[in-house]
């Protein structure tokens, strides 16, 4: 795979794809929840940020593994 770079980068890209899908769904649900109940927007926002950060943490696990794999390859 010398011409195109390491496979590890493709793995990292797939992990990020999963994160994008997940956080996109969270954002969508949060916005819909706020639209239905504007008074609860503070709580919904906090829950959205925490859930998004947890998913981003998992995606970054994938990126870190991609880094390590890229160095060996």
């Amino acid at each position: 795979m010398g011409v195109f770079g390491s496979i590890a980068a493709i793995g990292a890209g797939i992990a990020v794809l999963g994160a994008g899908l997940g956080i996109g769904r969270i954002g969508g649900s949060a916005v819909e929840g706020i639209a239905r109940n504007p008074e609860a927007s503070g709580k919904i926002q906090t829950a959205m940020i925490i859930a998004a950060a947890l998913i981003e943490g998992v995606a970054l696990f994938g990126v870190v593994v991609g880094f390590l794999g890229g160095k060996v390859g």
Binding site: I49, I50, G57, V63, V64
Partner: protein, 340 residues
């Protein structure tokens, strides 16, 4: 992106790695031999204390090893005799230079307690943190519980936010008072060091929170506080989770025990990877100018880097808030009283 066959082509990955990693000098400006840097003290324990200025290592003889992956290292002179520096790590060297195996030196490391760039950045960040907090508390000590002016006016809403939205909201039953100090420290330490890392000039610009040993230590603090604050209810949830049939317990208990460690581990990786990835993106965008060797590319590269930097400001604050919130959640779970 590997360099082309022409000489002096710009090696992007080396440029990026050099700016992300720890170093024994703090590079201010200039290039290669005419560079201006602050050379930091090297403190080694190698059957005795060895103390010398890093410039003896950096100004030593540079040796290039050709091959599939060319490597170069510098051999120390003067007070640094007997040591060599390869990729910012110090090795003991005898006659014959460093021995390499698959691209990595196999010589022995002496025990390295040097003041490196990250250690100096830690001192600067901590000093700034203490300065800010002591000034704020001095205001209230002098004036009592009145509406603040100056620095205290700027910091009070943030401190109150940490106390109310992070500590009180996650640690129920009024027990948050014991842990507010830790949460405030963690929040402001991460925030200040993230923001300092965004500033390109000295004293900012060191990638401290992107150093995995620093985030490891912060995560260990959270782990220790969680484990040592655990009450009977917490340990009951781990070893005898209510509502689980007895046959499943041999599976649940190891999972719960591993869960005690994976939560701070995720905290560590999350902060490290977010900060390092942000720095890498900004550096890669700026490298566009140097790869194409023309200033005109700056018209594209600088606005993109600016946009990413604004995003990085948000990430700096968010990561501090998140680390504190998740720590508070774990501590809250540890001290929670039983309620059916």
């Amino acid at each position: 992106m590997k360099g082309s066959t022409k000489e002096e082509s710009f090696n992007v990955s080396e440029f990026i790695m050099h700016h992300i990693q720890d170093a024994h000098e703090w590079h201010l400006w200039g290039k290669d031999s005419s560079a201006t840097s602050i050379y930091l003290p090297v403190i080694l324990w190698d059957n005795g204390l060895k103390l010398f200025n890093a410039k003896h290592l950096y100004h030593g003889e540079t040796i290039h090893i050709e091959g599939e992956e060319p490597v170069h290292y510098t051999v120390g002179t003067g007070a640094a005799k007997g040591y060599a520096l390869c990729h910012e790590e110090i090795y003991k060297i005898k006659k014959g230079g460093l021995q390499f195996h698959e691209g990595h030196p196999t010589n022995v490391h002496p025990m390295d307690f040097s003041i490196t760039k990250n250690v100096l950045a830690l001192f600067i960040g901590s000093f700034l943190l203490v300065l800010l907090m002591v000034s704020t508390s001095n205001f209230y000590r002098k004036n009592g519980a009145v509406a603040p002016k100056g620095l205290a006016k700027f910091l009070e809403p943030i401190i109150v936010m940490v106390q109310d939205d992070i500590a009180k909201a996650n640690i129920h039953g009024g027990k948050h008072k014991r842990y507010v100090g830790f949460l405030l420290t963690v929040f402001f330490f991460i925030l200040i060091n993230n923001l300092l890392g965004m500033i390109p000039v000295f004293p900012g610009g060191a990638n401290l929170t992107g150093n995995i040993t620093v985030t490891f230590f912060l995560a260990v603090c959270t782990l220790l506080i969680t484990v040592f604050s655990g009450n009977k209810n917490y340990w009951k949830h781990i070893f005898a989770t209510p509502g689980v049939p007895l046959a499943l317990l041999p599976i649940m208990i190891p999972i719960e025990i591993i869960g005690i460690f994976t939560k701070p581990f995720a905290l560590m990786i999350r902060l490290f990877a977010n900060m390092t990835a942000g720095h890498i993106i900004v550096l890669a965008l700026i490298s566009i100018i140097f790869i194409n060797k023309s200033e005109a590319w700056g018209l594209l590269s600088v606005p993109m880097a600016l946009f990413i930097s604004v995003l990085e400001l948000l990430v700096a604050f968010l990561q501090a808030y998140l680390f504190a919130t998740l720590s508070a959640l774990f501590i809250g779970a540890a001290v929670e009283e039983d309620h059916h």
